[in-house]
Amino acid sequence: MTPVEYLAAALVIGGVFFGFVATVGLLRLPDLYSRLHAASKSDTLGSVLAIAGTAAALGLTTESMKMLFLVLFLFLTSPTAAHAIARAGKEQEVDPVGEEAAWRDEDGGEAR
């Protein structure tokens, strides 16, 4: 194996690891918001590492450039999606575990 292949393998294995963490987190964490932590962080890094590993294996080609774009967009879309879900949860008055109705009586004078 060449050094680049080692790098690609390491990246993909890292991606698998964080994908695994995301799944375990999703199953073990107690509520909507903490599960989103797993979904937004570990899942992002997991996918990004897997894609980066693939890009490294492909070398410097058009395809690997597209992979890099994918990485970039994942960093933009993943937190945005997590934020959308969290915000929807808040608006539906889903309470976070450990702190009851922390935001229910906020007057929100300037909502939005």
Binding site: V21, L29, K41, T80, A82, A86
Partner: protein, 355 residues
């Protein structure tokens, strides 16, 4: 008494080519109202401030007050024309700058800021300059006029003929915006296709695709005017410096999360933190919100203007957040080095005597 004030007129002032004629119209209206009622009315010229950095934006403050001075000079001239010089003035003028201490962004925000001033001064009428579009004219949002009417004001649109801004036929897009979005889309298309710029097929499909993208999305992509190139260049450079730091933070976040998630006893301490970030503008706020979500133990739940509600999963996360490293970095990216001196959220909170 309040009924008398209802005749007073408020004019939101901003740079636009029809401002001069809007002032004339407002003065005529106020003069008419004064004659009808047999007593003086007041015109309030109000400058709604756009997002800005606390102290570092003296230039904008100065240009706002010089614009207001000019507007009052115009209004006095118009009034002299209506009643003749040396007569007792029927209309008084006041000026104000509003919204300097908060982040106003959508037409609704601007209307709220204006309405607050109007309520405080018991003004019931608003004269709107049709080509002044605070907060841009994003098609998804209601217009400034509608937002004001919603708040119970009599809204008069000044009957000014708009200077024909160069627009492409059948669209709402100006030429500079069109070119910018078109060029960006075309370059992106060609880059994805492998940069075969000499291939006629690639070029034709690229132009067609970019054209469709621009016609449908340019109004969403570009909120108002074409941004200055130098500003963008500096921002992109600083963004490039920010990326490795963010990547490092993301890695740390994931290791911390992996530890928590895989630990048999699941040592989490979820809590929510609210704070006001010292960042303004949609891009900076979005960047900060996304960075918060990606970094150790924190998740942005809701943002309204610059007020963040953040869910923190692990104990250290809250301290890290309030130390404001991320916030400072985002400020550095968008406003330059000078702005990094603004105190951290923790220090700001201490100044207010805790909260």
């Amino acid at each position: 008494m309040a009924a008398d004030h209802e005749r007073d007129v408020l004019v939101p002032v901003g740079d636009s080519e029809t401002l001069r004629r809007t002032v004339t119209y407002a003065v005529e209206r106020a003069h008419e109202a004064a004659v009808d009622a047999g007593e003086r009315t007041t015109i309030h010229f109000v400058f709604p401030a756009r997002w800005r950095i606390y102290e570092t934006d003296r230039e904008n403050v100065a240009s706002a007050s010089s614009l207001l001075d000019r507007v009052v000079a115009w209004a006095e001239e118009d009034l002299d024309g209506l009643i003749g010089e040396d007569q007792i003035a029927t209309v008084a003028f006041e000026t104000a700058t509003v919204g300097t201490d908060e982040y106003v962004f959508s037409p609704g925000d601007f209307a709220a800021v204006i309405a607050r001033y109007a309520d405080a001064n018991e003004v019931g009428r608003v004269v709107v300059d049709p080509s002044f579009r605070p907060g841009g004219s994003v098609p998804l949002l209601r217009s400034f006029e509608e937002e004001l009417a919603e708040r119970g004001f009599d809204v008069f649109e000044a009957p000014v003929t708009r200077q024909t801004r160069r627009r492409l036929p059948f669209t709402e897009i100006g030429l500079p915006e069109f070119l910018l979005v078109f060029a960006a889309s075309l370059l992106f298309y060609l880059a994805l296709g492998g940069w075969h710029v000499t291939d006629a097929y690639e070029l034709v499909t690229g132009v067609a695709t970019a054209g469709v993208v621009t016609l449908t999305l340019a109004r969403v992509t570009m909120k108002s005017e074409v941004p200055r190139l130098r500003y963008i260049g500096a921002t992109v450079l600083r963004m490039a410096a920010y990326t490795p730091i963010l990547l490092w933070e993301i890695t740390k976040a994931n290791v911390a999360l992996a530890y928590v998630v895989l630990h048999p006893s699941l040592p989490i301490e979820p809590r929510t933190v609210e704070f006001d970030a010292a960042v303004w503008g949609d891009m900076p706020v979005t960047t900060l919100a996304n960075s918060i979500t990606l970094t150790p133990g924190t998740l942005t739940v809701d943002v309204s203007r610059q007020h963040f509600i953040v869910h923190a999963l692990i104990p250290d996360a809250e301290d890290d957040l309030l130390e404001g490293t991320l916030e400072r970095l985002v400020r550095f990216v968008f406003y330059g080095r000078e702005s990094a001196r603004i105190p951290s959220p923790l220090e700001r909170r201490d100044d207010e005597g805790g909260s």
